[in-house]
């Protein structure tokens, strides 16, 4: 009797665990299936016409502007910070402090970034609700992931390569400039993609910093407000339910979903590539 019940658990536990995994995969496929009903809305007339004509051109271009600016701000800062943490002061007190700050920054809810960005960038610095404030707020959010990824990439570079460079008489800076940085390029790119992925779905942080839903046309300067896919979907669902046909709202959601999937796949491939590349070195 005892033996039988034991063999029953022995069989049922893995099945239960498998069912849970299956449940998660089912939820994922169901979301894909649900959003695929927006597929027929994805016509050039919908994608490339202004929101005034029932299209989504402005949100798409606005999303791109937001990514580009925020990445341009965070990529150099994050990379240099990681270089300091790994190459200049690997075990200093300052490094530990920065480490703790990055950990906590990664855990701050995005709505807090939103209200902070509004008070600091929009009001105190007087930028107003605009693309530039959105960039800065987003850059703050991306900082942890960017720094972390480059740090990981730098740590992966074998020590003997750096030592070889130093042994040849190169200075610390020359070593970093000509040996460490080129080897870290895939890591920096991964970091950029990952941190864009982190903010690609962000709505709460740009709610008060970068977007107006009354805005018309594309932003001409960084001091104009913008529209993004996430924000447009949020407004369409909550405040203007009848503005687009349901099919088109699904189309918008699908575009956002595909963007997320694409960014994550690129990051995934990059990371796999980095790993293989390291083995080869």
């Amino acid at each position: 009797m005892r033996v039988r019940s034991r063999s029953l658990t022995e069989k049922s536990v893995p099945v239960l665990c498998g069912l849970s995994t299956l449940l998660l995969l089912t939820i994922f496929s169901y979301i894909c299936y649900l959003l695929s009903s927006g597929l027929e809305a994805l016509r050039p007339a919908f994608l490339f016409s202004s929101i005034l004509d029932g299209g989504i051109l402005e949100p798409m271009v606005g999303t791109f502007y937001l990514f580009a600016g925020a990445t341009a701000i965070v990529a150099p800062v994050g990379t240099l910070a990681a270089i300091y943490m790994v190459k200049y002061a690997p075990r200093g007190r300052l490094t530990r402090l920065v480490d703790a700050a990055i950990n906590n920054l990664a855990g701050v809810p995005s709505i807090i970034f939103g209200i902070f960005g509004f008070t600091f960038f929009c009001k105190l610095l007087g930028l107003g609700i605009c693309l530039l404030s959105g960039w800065m707020t987003m850059a703050c959010m991306m900082l942890p992931i960017m720094t972390r990824s480059v740090e990981e990439a730098l740590k992966m570079i074998p020590e003997h390569i750096r030592e070889a460079s130093l042994a040849l008489g190169a200075t610390r800076w020359q070593t970093i400039r000509h040996v460490v940085l080129p080897a870290a390029v895939p890591g920096i790119l991964t970091g950029m993609v990952l941190s864009i992925g982190r903010i690609a779905g962000e709505t709460a942080a740009i709610l008060f910093t970068a977007c107006f839903y009354t805005m018309r046309g594309l932003p001409q300067t960084p001091l104009d407000p913008t529209l993004t896919l996430t924000y447009y979907l949020y407004v369409l669902v909550l405040y203007m339910p009848g503005r687009l046909e349901p099919r088109q709202v699904f189309g918008l959601a699908l575009v956002l979903f595909l963007l997320t999937v694409a960014l994550n796949s690129v990051a995934f491939v990059f990371r796999a590539y980095c790993r293989r590349w390291r083995r080869w070195m």
Binding site: T21, L24, F28, A101, N104, V108, T203, V237, A253, T260
Partner: protein, 300 residues
Amino acid sequence: MRQIRRLLRRKLPEWAEAVTMLCALNSIAVLSLIVLFVAWEALPALLGWTGVSLTFENKWSVEHEKCGLYVLLVSSLMASMGALAMAIPVGVAAAIFLAEVIPGGLREAVRPLIELLGAIPSVLYGFVGLKVVVPTVQRLFNLYYGQTALTASIVLAVMIVPTIVSLSSEIISAVPVEYREASLALGATKWQTVRHIVLPTAMPGIVASAILAFGRAMGETVAVVMVAGTSTELARPFWDFLQPIYPMTAAIAMGFGEAEVGGAAYHVYFAIGAILLAFAFTVNLVASLLLRKAPTRVRL
């Protein structure tokens, strides 16, 4: 121009350390700025200087100067706890499956999919929740309104499950193989080994993943705004999950835009932000303390 370039070439190596150090200090600066600003703007509301005082009564209506934190706090806790109750069993089971059962090749295929589930934008979750979960809950329980605490919990559960799965499975895989071999050599079966050796060793890490998931659920905004409803007063006691709620993040997202800068309502929203921030830091601290006991070094 050439002079500047020559200067740069000569000076850059000397400045490099200082410049990189400044960039590293930047993250400390950003974090301190956030903490300082939120605390500074929250202070008037917390100390009652604005004339609108925060209380714990069961009524939230900033326009009528009634700021009972009970509604928001209890709503946030209801949604997150409900989500955890659903996400922990499923997430831990899936983590065990990924780490212990499934062969390596298949695992590398399934894991990215589950991680992708965690990367889906929260506004999309809100949208899907509104289209699917809200009507289902409404029909199932025969309610007048489908936006309830239960709906929010379900949507949040799906959003936080990937956090639990990826961290827990990583930690379960990291339990040293010698432990398992010792147990198997003593005649224990595979599942006895998992139950009595692997899980207890990985437990601090699993708990940490659940705590991090809790933090994520508390801070989640947009999806919650769309599916939790807006309730100025919790009509029924907190164990009734079939009532609309109004979590802290939703209150900020809905009300902050209309609040006049420097007005009483503005400071009240910052006070809620300060509470959220305190929650986030506590969650981070506890999780990182627990992760120190994990069999592998995992970074948050």
